[in-house]
């Protein structure tokens, strides 16, 4: 299709486009071509794969999920033993991934916001320290950081007998992080129920306050009262439930600690690495978001008589969040995806369990497919939720 041909064709037909030069027909031809190429390639790969699988006597399909896994998993949220099925083993892995991602995301957002604000502080020292933190932690690969923290636990920290004891009831040693919790008591369950009830009450209060403000123009101190309800209701329940103060404090018995909650070095190292690494990125996101709201907005808000808290709540945050939320979402997803590096330091996350499964069954395609599917589900559901939230806080343009 050289230019000369094109002009000839255009000249001869004068007005009527030949079939091959009709953009619509061409578009369809291109699409058919590309689809045919993709189809051929996948057919080729499929046939190779099937031949290879047959030759190596590897079963196909997801039948292996029903079989007995016969390997132990170090940490599990649900009861699991080697006699359980592969399906249950993978479920344990997926729950571990969810656990570390969820706690990691919460801590990252808190730490990242804190550092991002520190970066903008008028205090030179604080702002410099935040800048150094951001630069250092962003520029070192996450895997290296994980290895470092893992080595930190196993090589640098002392054994249980010489465990570090930074606070009363908290021990750090090469067996991980061990801390005391309040001893079991029925009052704590009631406190949980009270907390849920408090959340519902605050939600109702907020609706009522908004309706009242729309009707009468009178503002209601929703925030203060809300915090009061959220904290007060569980405390009152605790007091009514007999005010249990007994603590389950870890104590050294023999070579290890008994009692309290102990978090494994693998989990702690993974969490530490993920949070410190991602927080550096979140800090930059938060800084950019706050800086995106111009100084005039604050001044205008103050000049119409809003108080400092109202300025932040009604003027700055709604605008900053709009800038912050989309990149924050992708950082949360990055953290979830990076949690798959757990396999390198021996924390039984989904990838690690799936890797063991692949080794035992030889069903690599199904295994890798499952890994991809599970992460896709995590990613898609997180981004669906964040998109919903983003839409909620989006600027309503008139």
């Amino acid at each position: 299709m050289t230019p000369t041909q094109a002009t000839n064709a255009g000249g001869e037909t004068s007005g009527k486009t030949p079939l091959l030069y009709d953009p619509k027909v061409r578009g369809i031809l291109y699409q058919i071509g590309v689809l045919a190429m993709v189809g051929l390639l996948s057919w080729y790969l499929m046939s190779n794969t099937l031949a290879n699988l047959e030759r190596q006597n590897i079963a196909t399909g997801l039948g292996f999920l029903e079989k007995q896994s016969s390997f132990e998993i170090g940490e599990s949220l649900i009861s699991y033993s080697a006699a359980d099925t592969y399906f249950k083993a993978l479920l344990v892995g997926a729950l571990n991934t969810l656990l570390v991602s969820f706690i990691g995301i919460v801590l990252t957002v808190v730490l990242g916001t804190f550092i991002g604000i520190a970066r903008l502080s008028t205090n030179w020292l604080v702002s410099r320290m935040a800048a150094v933190y951001i630069e250092v932690f962003q520029d070192i690969p996450i895997l290296l950081q994980l290895f470092f923290w893992y080595a930190f636990f196993y090589e640098i920290l002392p054994g249980p007998r010489q465990a570090l004891n930074p606070f009363n009831g908290v021990f750090i040693c090469n067996r991980g992080l061990i801390f005391g919790i309040p001893a079991a008591h029925p009052a704590f369950m009631y406190m949980g129920i009270a907390f849920v009830a408090a959340i519902a009450a605050v939600w109702a209060l907020k609706r009522w306050a908004r309706a009242r403000q729309a009707r009468t123009g009178q503002a209601f101190p929703t925030f203060k009262v809300g915090v009061g309800i959220l904290i007060g209701l569980p405390i009152v329940t605790w007091w009514l439930g007999g005010a249990p103060t007994a603590m389950d404090v870890p104590a050294l018995k023999g070579f290890n600690f008994r009692g309290g909650v102990s978090v494994s070095p693998e989990f702690t190292a993974l969490l530490l690495g993920l949070v410190l690494y991602t927080a550096a990125f979140v800090a930059e996101v938060v800084r950019a978001g706050i800086q995106s709201v111009s100084r005039g907005q604050t001044e205008a808000a103050l000049s119409i008589g809003l108080r400092a808290g109202q300025v932040l709540n009604l003027v700055i945050l709604p605008q900053a969040l709009r800038v912050i939320v989309p990149p924050l979402t992708s950082q949360m997803l990055n953290l979830t995806k990076n949690s798959s590096l757990a396999v390198a330091i021996g924390y039984p996350d989904f990838v690690s369990v799936a890797g063991t499964t692949i080794n035992q069954t030889g069903q690599a395609i199904e295994g890798v497919g499952l890994i991809m599917a599970v992460y896709l589900i995590f990613s898609l559901s997180t981004s669906a939720f964040m998109n919903w939230y983003n839409k909620k806080i989006k600027l309503v343009e008139r």
Partner: protein, 365 residues
């Protein structure tokens, strides 16, 4: 305005109060402006005071620079930096034959030289492309052998050259693919558009490690019987496929940043799709996306460390291998700090380059 009265004496120039200029003034405005800032400053100084001196003592005062691992272990007072000089050749070059290690060394120097050369905008000409092509070919010959150099199997490649090759080749090869994907995603043809969207979103939704697993365990199944592709190349393909999806999104940002008028102007000149893209849109769009592309290079550089998990001997894995040696066991902190420094210097250099180029390219419209 009236003329100034003439009988006024020039007033004495008052100096600003001593507390608002000089060192004192700086301290006041930057560290002790309010009571809580003062408190914050003191808290940070306290934190630095309890953390920095012990670290300095460990790292510099009580440290060992030439002792053997055993001597370090016996003394057990400070950092044992001698793990680095004693193993530097292995950490840097892995299992590459000892006598031939000048070759990967030279390849790294060449690559760094090319990167430094390309950072100056006055060198951004067509000749730069040829320099790169020539450089990559020479690097390939240096690494692999040929032309009188003894051949070295790629299974023996390792250390820093491997890390650099995986990331630089990864980005170079992923870029064209990323552009094609970005154009495909913007295409008006539904089949092509949805293929590209599915590819990009699928890859961006899964961790790199799952692709690396795929390259190490699934990919061999895809090939016909008897055909094998070596491990490094397979990992390289995984990195390219992964990076391309991210580049596609960056390029799409650039394409969307183009004003509609640019497309219309090109169409009204009678340019077809390829001409429009090649002559009008891409040159402008790609210029906008240079800074985010450097960020992708930085993350690709950091992400290559993940090949550790499929047992390729990159910089991180060679370091771990040294730490597995009984003589040097237990000095992880020293070794990892050294490697972290290598990564930090590279990434910091790249990110400050990206900031510089962003300022230069910012033409204000």
């Amino acid at each position: 305005m009236n003329a100034a009265p003439t009988d006024l004496q020039p007033t004495e120039t008052l100096k600003p109060p001593a507390a608002s200029v000089g060192v004192l003034g700086w301290l006041r405005t930057n560290l002790f402006s309010t009571w809580y800032n003062s408190l914050l400053t003191l808290a940070v100084i306290y934190l630095l005071w309890v953390s920095i001196p012990p670290f300095v003592r460990w790292a510099f005062v009580d440290s060992f620079w030439t002792a053997s691992g055993k001597e370090c272990l016996e003394a057990d007072t400070g950092a044992c930096w001698s793990i680095i000089p004693n193993n530097i050749r292995f950490i840097m070059f892995g299992f590459y034959p000892y006598a031939e290690q000048w070759r990967p060394g030279l390849a790294v120097v060449l690559l760094v030289g090319l990167l430094v050369f390309s950072q100056f905008r006055r060198n951004w000409k067509k000749s730069l492309l040829y320099y790169w092509l020539a450089g990559l070919v020479i690097m390939g010959i240096l690494m692999k052998g040929g032309l009188g150099l003894a051949p070295v199997e790629s299974t023996k490649w390792g250390g820093l050259p491997l890390t650099l090759l995986l990331s630089v080749f990864g980005l170079t090869a992923a870029y064209p693919l990323g552009i094609v994907l970005a154009l495909g995603r913007q295409s008006r043809l539904p089949a092509i558009r949805s293929l590209c969207v599915v590819y990009i979103e699928l890859i961006r939704g899964v961790p790199l490690i799952s692709l690396l697993f795929m390259s190490s365990v699934v990919f061999p199944l895809f090939l016909p019987e008897g055909v094998t592709v070596n491990k490094i190349l397979r990992a390289q393909v995984a990195i390219i496929l992964f990076t391309a999806a991210y580049i596609a999104e960056v390029v799409r940002g650039g394409l969307q940043g183009m004003a509609r008028g640019q497309y219309e102007a090109a169409e009204s000149l009678g340019l077809n799709y390829y001409q429009t893209m090649r002559l009008i849109i891409l040159p402008q769009a790609l210029k906008i996306v240079i800074p985010p592309s450097v960020s992708i290079l930085i993350s690709a550089f950091k992400d290559t460390s993940l090949v550790v998990i499929i047992a390729l001997y990159d910089l991180l894995k060679t370091t771990q291998a040294v730490l597995g040696n009984p003589e040097w066991m237990g000095f992880s902190a020293e070794a990892y700090i050294f490697i972290a420094l290598v990564y930090f210097v590279c990434c910091y250099y790249l990110s400050s380059f990206s900031r510089k180029i962003e300022r230069e390219l910012d033409t204000g419209y």
